[in-house]
Structures are given as structure tokens and as C-alpha cells.
């Protein structure tokens, strides 16, 4: 247990060394999004730097998923600017948008594995239009499966996987294009504490190995502690607080501290 903590700390430190505060990868300014009378996001501002893990905390229904869905334009934002790798997402044409999307990995809350395909086919799906030979694809798939610790799962169907395995395969699928940005929607929700910790460590590994910038949505404080370089707390559609784990845990604000109890 203790040794594990040290390991996590070690990976954590090595990551902190990689992250570059000067280069902004994602820049969200004054983002607003409403559904009818339901004002979910109001004037939201978030920046993510190269190689940085930003954790977004917030109660359920506070608009965390809406936030990252606006970032890949699964939802159209009402107001504000969203710059990803220097591209203004809100005004891109569809084909340009798809190019930017290739640089963004999105791990859905349910992992969103394609039910009718085997694990191998799931992993191959993002490579469809990549002009790669079959051998190259096979190698990438095997690497992907090994990196999430499931080298033998290739021929299984998603229905045969446990919740933790689904998340891992989902992660492997999103990582297969080696995206510059990763978005994780509640990666540990619904998993037991041990599996949650393993997933958190995988997230950290992704950051260290591939210098990925990530937004991690969660209300699992342990996951936030392990993965975050910086934490943003959402309340009433705004970023209510921002800081490192250690800063926020000592916050004056009772509401913010309540997350950490």
C-alpha cells in the first residue's frame, strides 16, 4: 500500500516536470450553454496547458459533461470561444472539425464500446481512415491492449467484459491515435476503489508517457488527488474555485472543502 503511494507520487512528480505552463492547448473563454430555461454553463473559463492534467469537480448535473461535449462540438455552445490547439472549435467547418477531433480522445462515462464489434474491431475503428497496413493496425491494437493490461482481450465482445475492463478498453481505443488531448468523463465512477485506483494510475501513465493534456471530470476525490496538476470546481455554471489539490483542501470555503471530506 505504502509502496504504491510512493509509486504514484513518483509518477506524479515526473509528470509535473513534463508539463509546460507556457503552451496553452485548450482555451475556453466565456462559455455559456443553456437548454431552454436550464442555464447549465454561464461564463465558464478554463485553460489547459501542454502536458497538464486538469480535474473538473462538481456535483452531478452541474454541467461537467456538457462542458467537454461542447469542447468537441457534440453540443453547440451558445456563447463564448473554445480554442483547441489554436483552432476555434465553434466556427470550424465539419471536415476541419474532424481533423481537430482526431487529436482529441474522449473517454465516455459508459466507455461507449461498440456492442456489435469485438474488442479488436473496436480498437481498429478509429484507424479506419488512417491508410495503415493490416500489420501496422495489428501492432497498434496489441500495443494498446498491453498498455491497459489486457493483452488477451482482443477477441472478446464488449458484453463479456467487466466494468473496469470496459473502461480500460475504452481508454485503449481512445489512445490508439495518440491524441494530444484527452477528455475523461467520470473515468472511475461505478468502479470499486481498487479498480478506480488502477484507472487513475493509467490516466497518469498516459500523461507521462505521451505528454497528453487532459481534462478529467470526476467526483471521485481520490482520482482527483492522484491525477490532478490543477483542480477546477464548478458551481452554478461557473468555475468557482481553482488550485492544486493541496490548496483546495485548505480552502476557506466550506462548500469547496465539502468535496474533500
Amino acid at each position: 500500500m505504502e509502496k504504491e503511494q510512493e509509486q504514484i507520487q513518483a509518477v506524479s512528480d515526473s509528470k509535473a516536470a513534463v508539463f509546460d505552463p507556457k503552451e496553452v492547448i485548450v482555451d475556453i473563454q466565456h462559455l455559456s450553454k443553456s437548454f431552454g430555461d436550464n442555464h447549465v454553463l454561464i461564463d465558464m473559463n478554463i485553460t489547459v496547458h501542454k502536458g497538464e492534467n486538469v480535474v473538473v469537480l462538481g456535483k452531478s448535473g452541474s454541467g461537467k459533461s456538457v462542458l467537454i461535449k461542447c469542447l468537441v462540438r457534440l453540443l453547440d455552445s451558445d456563447e463564448g470561444t473554445i480554442k483547441v490547439l489554436g483552432n476555434e472549435i465553434t466556427t470550424l467547418k465539419n471536415n476541419e472539425l474532424n481533423v481537430v477531433r482526431k487529436n482529441i480522445g474522449f473517454l465516455f462515462q459508459s466507455a461507449a464500446l461498440y456492442d456489435s464489434m469485438t474488442v479488436n474491431e473496436n480498437l481498429a475503428f478509429p484507424l479506419r481512415d488512417q491508410k495503415k497496413t493490416l500489420e501496422e493496425i495489428d501492432t497498434l491494437i496489441q500495443e494498446g491492449l498491453e498498455s491497459v493490461g489486457l493483452p488477451d482481450a482482443g477477441l472478446l465482445m464488449p458484453s463479456e467484459l467487466s466494468g473496469g475492463m470496459r473502461k480500460r478498453i475504452g481508454l485503449a481505443r481512445t489512445m490508439i491515435l495518440k491524441p494530444a488531448i484527452m477528455l475523461y468523463d467520470e473515468p472511475t465512477t461505478g468502479l470499486d476503489p481498487i479498480t478506480s485506483k488502477e484507472i487513475s494510475k493509467l490516466i497518469l501513465e498516459v500523461q507521462t508517457k505521451q505528454q497528453t493534456s487532459s481534462i478529467i471530470i470526476t467526483h471521485d476525490i481520490e482520482c482527483a488527488r492522484i491525477t490532478a496538476n490543477r483542480i477546477i470546481v464548478i458551481k452554478d455554471g461557473k468555475a468557482a474555485a481553482e488550485g492544486t489539490y493541496d490548496e483546495l483542501i485548505k480552502s476557506e470555503d466550506k462548500w469547496i472543502r465539502s468535496f474533500f471530506e
Binding site: 437548454f35 431552454g36 430555461d37 436550464n38 461535449k69 468537441v72 457534440l74 474532424n98 481533423v99 477531433r101 482526431k102 482529441i104 474522449f106 465516455f108 462515462q109 459508459s110 461507449a112 464500446l113 461498440y114 456492442d115 456489435s116 475503428f125 478509429p126 479506419r128 481512415d129
Partner: protein, 275 residues
């Protein structure tokens, strides 16, 4: 219509129900027809713009044909058999037993074969597509596809609508054939009719004015099954409940479409191709 779309509409003003057609069930009905028409428009647009998903189309054709083949064969066979056994006494009373093959041929090819087979496929294929797409929607698989840079409408919807449009006619032709064989056995339960004689009689009674309209309407049946089922699945509401509802609505609505298309087709045929 999906809840998310409803939620984005502006709130209804209180006097909007001055227009009878825009409120209540009636209004919903027309709104839905409008939505389906737009969905169909998107289908035709996406169908012609490359890239084309040939591999997925072939896979869907195979699945649809393969899944329904035995079911269609059994129903077709029984259809032919029962029709023969039922009509024999009536025709026998007029001493017109030799007309049985021709009568069976005309009724099966023109009407019963296409409609019954399409209804069976609406149940089997339509519910399958409705449930599959709805669960893909609910579990964010469609979103995942979109984010990975694949157009989900093209990959999922266009391929399925094309597959039903192509495969339902094939299944109908197969069912017609099996039904005629069933009819042959039915004729031979009480009589003794040669295989050759039977089929000569069958083909003597059929001409292009029977075959062409039948073909035309089966293509429309196939298209409507695919379109309606995909529409219902693709616009499923959130939650697992939405999956069952979509599958159900897909079957009900596509069966209804089949009857409506049939009624219109029969009228058109009798106007355009009078016997």
C-alpha cells in the same frame, strides 16, 4: 421526437393552441412526419456524398438477409399451402379447380407475398434496427463514433436504410417462390398436378403488370422499414426505457407505413396499368 430537441425549443406561448393542428396529438403527428421527412432528406444527401461505407453496407445486407431467411421461408411456405387449401372448395364448386395455380400465383405475387413478408421483416428487422440504434444512442456509442471522426449518420443510418431497401425485395422474391412451392404441395394434397403443369399455369397467369408494381412496392416497403426504424432508434430518448420504446415504435410505425404504401400502390397500379 427526442427530449433533448424538445428542451431546446422555445417555450410554447399560451395562445399557440389557437391552431388546432399545432397542438395535441394531431400536432405531434404532423411534427413527426416533418421530422421523418427531414431525416429522409439527410439520408439522400449523405448517400450521394463520399466516402461510401461499402463494407458496412455488405455486412448489414448479409445480417438482414441471413437473420430473416428461415422465418420468411416458413411463412411463405405456409402462406402458399393454406391459400391453396382454403380456395380449393370454392373454386371446386364452380368446377374451376384448374384455375387454382393461376389464382394462387396472382394473389401471392401481387399482394400477399410482398405485404406479409414486409410485415414479418418489419417485426424482425425493424425492431432489431430500432433497438440497436437506440441502445447505441443511449450508451453514447453514436457520440463516440462522431468524436472519432466518422460520420455516424452515414455509417449507421445510410447503410441500414440501403440494406433494407435492397434486401426486402430479395426476401420477397424468395418468399414468393417458396409460397408457390407450398401452393404446389397444397394442390397435390387432394389432386394430382404435375410440377411442370403447375408452373406453366402459374407463369401463364402472370404478366409484367403483376410483377412491376409488386417489385416497386417491395422496394418502398424495404425503404420505409429502414427509414422508420432508423429514425426511431437514432432519436431515442435517454435511458434504457428508450430502447424498448424505440423498438416498439419502429415495428408499429413501419407496419403502418407498409399498409399505407400498399393502399396507395394498389390505387396507382389500377389507374396506370389497367388490366
Amino acid at each position: 421526437m427526442s427530449e433533448s430537441k424538445l428542451a431546446t425549443l422555445p417555450a410554447k406561448s399560451p395562445d399557440s393552441n389557437v391552431f388546432i393542428f399545432s397542438s395535441g396529438k394531431f400536432g405531434e403527428f404532423f411534427k413527426e412526419i416533418g421530422e421523418i421527412t427531414r431525416f429522409a432528406g439527410n439520408f439522400f444527401k449523405s448517400m450521394v456524398i463520399p466516402p461510401y461505407e461499402f463494407k458496412e453496407l455488405m455486412k448489414q445486407c448479409y445480417l438482414i438477409g441471413n437473420k430473416s431467411l428461415s422465418l420468411v421461408a416458413i411463412t411463405g411456405f405456409i402462406m402458399g399451402l393454406v391459400l391453396t387449401i382454403q380456395t380449393r372448395p370454392t373454386l371446386a364448386r364452380f368446377g374451376a379447380e384448374s384455375w387454382i395455380p393461376g389464382m394462387i400465383a396472382v394473389s401471392i405475387i401481387r399482394e400477399i407475398g410482398p405485404v406479409i413478408t414486409a410485415l414479418i421483416c418489419a417485426g424482425k428487422v425493424g425492431s432489431g434496427i430500432g433497438a440497436e440504434l437506440a441502445s447505441m444512442k443511449v450508451t453514447e456509442q453514436i457520440d463516440a463514433m462522431e468524436v472519432s471522426g466518422t460520420n455516424p449518420f452515414k455509417y449507421i443510418v445510410v447503410t441500414r436504410i440501403l440494406a433494407t431497401t435492397m434486401m426486402i425485395p430479395v426476401l420477397v422474391i424468395f418468399a414468393d417462390f417458396v409460397a408457390l412451392i407450398g401452393g404446389y404441395l397444397g394442390v397435390n394434397i387432394l389432386g394430382d398436378v404435375g410440377f411442370r403443369f403447375y408452373f406453366t399455369q402459374v407463369f401463364n397467369q402472370l404478366d409484367y403488370s403483376d410483377l412491376l408494381p409488386a417489385c416497386g412496392k417491395t422496394i418502398l416497403f424495404g425503404f420505409s422499414i429502414g427509414l422508420v426504424s432508423c429514425y426511431k432508434g437514432y432519436n431515442a430518448n435517454k435511458g434504457t426505457e428508450g430502447v424498448g420504446l424505440s423498438a416498439n415504435a419502429a415495428v408499429v410505425l413501419s407496419s403502418l407505413c407498409i399498409f399505407i404504401i400498399d393502399a396507395v400502390a394498389v390505387q396507382l397500379t389500377s389507374i396506370l396499368l389497367p388490366k
